[in-house]
């Protein structure tokens, strides 16, 4: 009934779940059920997001893990959407690329209208929610947790949508491990009037903790800043971890037989 760009039926031909969407035809011999990929291959780990005084900050590392191997180390997991929003994704990278493809088409559509109307962050978030939930209902999810941050008319927006269609907004969000390690730190230290420096410092603190404790993370990050002026995604940078603990100097002390 409505065109949302999810017309996979037209794109992928016979890969759609025939068994669910079309009536069964007994004249054709029983086919084995159509299945979809049930697990992700190349994944990104946590994405962090906080609102601050002048806008919204998103942060993510640049790792693409292939199972337990950190296979790719320059994956951009933060992508600008239009002029005033950024999408960050954890989970399957190829699904994230497909989602950004759909969003780019939406933004292009807006651009071609040339009527001064633009998709704001809230509308993008709603669109993503419909997209993710729709796929989930067809048992073929985009295996992602998405963070959408943006600014519209001075209003700051920060929302999350995940692969089962759960969606919410908050002053500070995180995906994956970030929920366990970063959110508690946000809860203690987040304030409405954080300056840019304070916001970045808070994010870097959490990113460092994630680098220490999350085995899928690497010491290479990007931070995205969205304000009334627009979107700026930083160049990749590294943080300075501290390994200078006494116990690390002579790790085999007290472990006879170890080397």
């Amino acid at each position: 009934m409505f065109a949302t760009g999810i017309a996979e039926e037209d794109r992928k031909g016979s890969y759609v779940d025939r068994s669910i969407s079309r009536p069964c035809n007994f004249e054709i011999s029983q086919q084995s059920p159509v299945t979809h990929t049930q697990y992700p291959y190349v994944t990104g780990t946590s994405v962090l997001g906080i609102k601050y005084k002048d806008g919204v900050l998103l942060a993510a590392d640049m790792a693409g893990s292939y199972g337990s191997t950190v296979r790719y180390k320059s994956i951009h997991r933060l992508k600008a959407v239009g002029s005033h929003a950024v999408l960050g994704a954890s989970g399957e990278i190829s699904d994230f690329q497909q989602v950004t493809q759909y969003l780019d088409e939406l933004v292009l559509n807006d651009y071609m209208w040339e009527d001064g109307n633009k998709l704001g962050p809230q509308e993008i978030h709603s669109y993503l929610n419909r997209l993710m939930y729709n796929k989930r209902n067809k048992f073929d999810p985009f295996w992602n947790s998405l963070v959408l941050g943006g600014v519209e008319n001075g209003q700051k927006y920060l929302g999350v949508v995940n692969m089962i269609g759960v969606h919410y907004k908050d002053n500070h969000v995180a995906t994956g491990f970030g929920n366990h390690l970063a959110r508690p730190m946000f809860r203690n230290e987040w304030r409405e009037d954080l300056t840019l420096e304070e916001g970045v410092k808070l994010l870097e603190k959490c990113l460092l903790v994630l680098f220490y404790r999350d085995r899928s993370s690497i010491n290479k990050f990007q931070i995205a800043k969205i304000t009334e002026e627009g979107v700026v995604i930083s160049e990749p940078f590294a943080l300075k971890p501290n390994w200078d603990f006494k116990a690390f100097h002579n790790p085999t002390l007290g472990a006879d037989g170890s080397w």
Binding site: M1, F2, D115, G116, N117, K118, L119, E123, Y127
Partner: protein, 274 residues
């Protein structure tokens, strides 16, 4: 316009490069009773003349709410108009479902126009016999558009369609420069005065006209009989209100209301003019 051998099919061009069937469809719009629309910086108002086919019948409904932020008024084959309004409502509701935000008015108008165009290029269809004035508010402010059976659409500050609409248009042409800064109540008054011009002999009453308003902070509302009556009664006093007193109107429009019991112009004392 007179019958000729090129006017049977909508898909037949005349040697003069015209599609007569489309033009005949636009005639149907001109036969419908008048519909007027005007906009200010903050509001858009639609007003219609309602014709009752007999004393015993109720009058035709010509104003339809499409969404909280869009309303239409139609002139011509109102049956065709209902189909278009159903389409428009569906488009609005579908957009709202996906984006949780109102469909921009211009985009909806273009979709309706494209739909109308299809009927001018299929041999098994006929053009819609209804003209729409679409009033709506979106991110870019208030808008007033006209949709034609030809598939054309135009944006206006003020316009009128239907029978005797020229009289209303003349009034609008005289006054349109004041619309932009008009208050909500002032705009409604102008709409009623314009519609009045289209009712040559009759008195303006709550049973032969309808008014709808939509604004930047106001969902589309169709004025009920009570409020409409207040505005109509208020017309007589302020019919001679000169430009200066518009300031008083603006002050009182601070209270947003559906025509409060103060009435439209009872706080304004008209100057004596000859």
């Amino acid at each position: 316009m007179f019958r000729n051998q090129y006017d049977t099919d909508v898909t037949t061009w005349s040697p003069a490069g015209r599609l007569h069937q489309v033009e005949y469809a636009m005639e149907a719009v001109k036969q419908g009773s008048a519909v007027v629309g005007l906009r200010s910086k903050t509001h858009v108002v639609l007003a219609t003349v309602n014709k009752a086919s007999s004393e015993l019948s109720s009058f035709q409904r010509k104003i339809f709410k499409i969404d909280d932020h869009i309303g239409i008024a139609m002139a011509g084959l109102t049956a065709d108009g209902r189909i278009l309004s159903r389409y428009m409502r569906l488009e609005c509701i579908n957009h709202n479902f996906v984006y949780e935000s109102p469909l921009p008015v211009g985009r909806l108008v273009l979709q309706v126009a494209d739909k109308a165009q299809v009927c001018t290029q299929r041999s098994w269809k006929r053009p819609y016999g209804v003209g729409l004035l679409v009033a709506g508010v979106d991110q870019t402010g208030p808008h007033l558009y006209q949709n034609c059976p030809s598939g054309n659409y135009f944006e206006y500050i003020a316009f009128a369609i239907g029978s005797r609409s020229q009289a209303a248009k003349t009034y609008l042409e005289r006054k349109y420069e004041t619309f932009s800064e008009s208050s909500r109540e002032g705009l409604i008054r102008h709409a009623l005065l314009a519609v009045k011009e289209s009712l040559q002999d009759e008195e303006l009453t709550t049973s032969n006209c309808s008014v709808a308003v939509v604004g930047v902070d106001e969902s589309l509302t169709i004025l009920d009989a009570r409020n409409l009556k207040l505005f109509i009664d208020g017309l007589d006093e302020s019919a001679s209100v000169p430009a200066e007193d518009k300031q008083a109107d603006e002050d009182e429009s601070k209270e947003q209301g559906l025509g409060t019991s103060d009435g439209s112009g009872s706080d304004v004392v008209p100057m004596e003019t000859s």
